[in-house]
């Protein structure tokens, strides 16, 4: 089954995120209060290793498992959309203590309350899609 590898990658992600407590509302509060290194350590390690991997993939023109070149699409440069969108996202992140990945993991963990946040996130995405052209990008 072609899709199995994505499910397995997701399982690994879900276990890692819950076992390192990155899905915990408490940990997100601790991060935004600068009271522990934990979350900064997680994100920092991931970014440093991710940057090294990205550099090597580009430098050696590495291919994916089907032999196609691995392509990185640069993000379109602009300011308003990233800062305004980012701030709105951050407000929600600190309130629920979960971003989209951890939302899914929390649901699996058995914290059913997060289902309401997931429905909210789908609705929020829909609202964005409807009023997108009226917003500054």
């Amino acid at each position: 089954m072609k899709g199995l590898k994505f499910i397995l990658a997701g399982i690994l992600f879900g276990i890692v995120m819950s076992k390192s407590e990155a899905i915990s509302w408490f940990r997100i509060q601790e991060m935004f209060r600068f009271q522990a290194f934990h979350m900064y350590g997680i994100i920092g390690t991931a970014v440093v290793l991710g940057a090294i991997a990205t550099y090597l993939i580009k430098k050696y023109n590495m291919k994916d498992y089907q032999g196609n070149p691995i392509i990185f699409t640069p993000k379109e440069m602009s300011f308003p959309r990233y800062i305004i969108g980012g701030i709105i996202f951050g407000l929600g992140w600190a309130l629920t203590g979960a971003c989209p990945g951890p939302m899914a993991v929390n649901l699996g963990y058995g914290y059913w309350a997060i289902a309401v946040a997931i429905v909210g996130a789908i609705a929020g995405t829909y609202i964005y899609g409807v009023i997108k052209d009226k917003l500054p990008h």
Binding site: S20, F26, M31, I43, P74, G120
Partner: protein
């Protein structure tokens, strides 16, 4: 085997998490995909037929099925953790955070999440329901507006040294700090 399970059931240190998150990101690149969770929210809207009326959702969402499978995996991973890999310990957050939160009426952790927000009892109160719903709305709206969330911008984007991602992550923190320090005292 039992020893291994016992070992894995302790909380994992931050560096194991950082290493494995980077590994998952690289794994998806070698699968010919990219690591980003919030795009699934757009895919779900499209799969529900939002593309009939709204151009933003009119795209070939079936090509993104792999990402939905990744989400299914993440849900399963959370379930495996709670079912087989937990010793039921409370989150070991700093004493300073425990004290700050107690002043807001959140008791010290006895599991992964605060009962005051994540219990079903809290969910069925008006305040608890609105916290989840409005928080979710802002996450969905904000991540699509900014073109990504923590995985797409903070991990994938920063790894690729993208300035837009850095701006977005700064935005995430401005929003998070405003919520934590200015708004939460009034909400909780």
């Amino acid at each position: 085997m039992e020893n291994i399970l016992e070992f894995l059931s302790q909380p994992w240190p931050w560096y194991t998490s950082g290493i494995l998150i980077a590994f998952v990101m690289v794994l998806l690149l070698f699968f010919g995909k990219s690591f980003g969770f919030s795009s699934n929210l757009r895919v779900i809207c499209a799969a529900c037929g939002a593309g009939k009326h709204t151009k933003f959702f009119d795209f070939d969402w079936r090509s993104q099925t792999w990402n939905l499978l990744f989400v299914v995996g993440a849900i399963l991973g959370g379930w495996i953790s709670s079912e087989f890999l937990t010793n039921g310990d409370a989150v070991q957050i700093s004493q300073a955070t425990i004290q700050d939160l107690q002043q807001l009426g959140i008791s010290a952790p006895d599991s992964l999440q605060p009962d005051e927000i994540f219990s079903l009892e809290a969910l069925f109160s008006v305040k608890g329901f609105l916290i989840m719903l409005i928080g979710g709305l802002m996450i969905g709206f904000g991540s699509r507006y900014a073109g990504g969330c923590t995985s797409g911008h903070a991990i994938s984007g920063l790894s690729n040294l993208q300035l837009p991602s850095l701006i977005a992550v700064i935005g995430f923190f401005i929003g998070g700090l405003i919520m934590t320090h200015l708004l939460l005292p009034f909400i909780l």
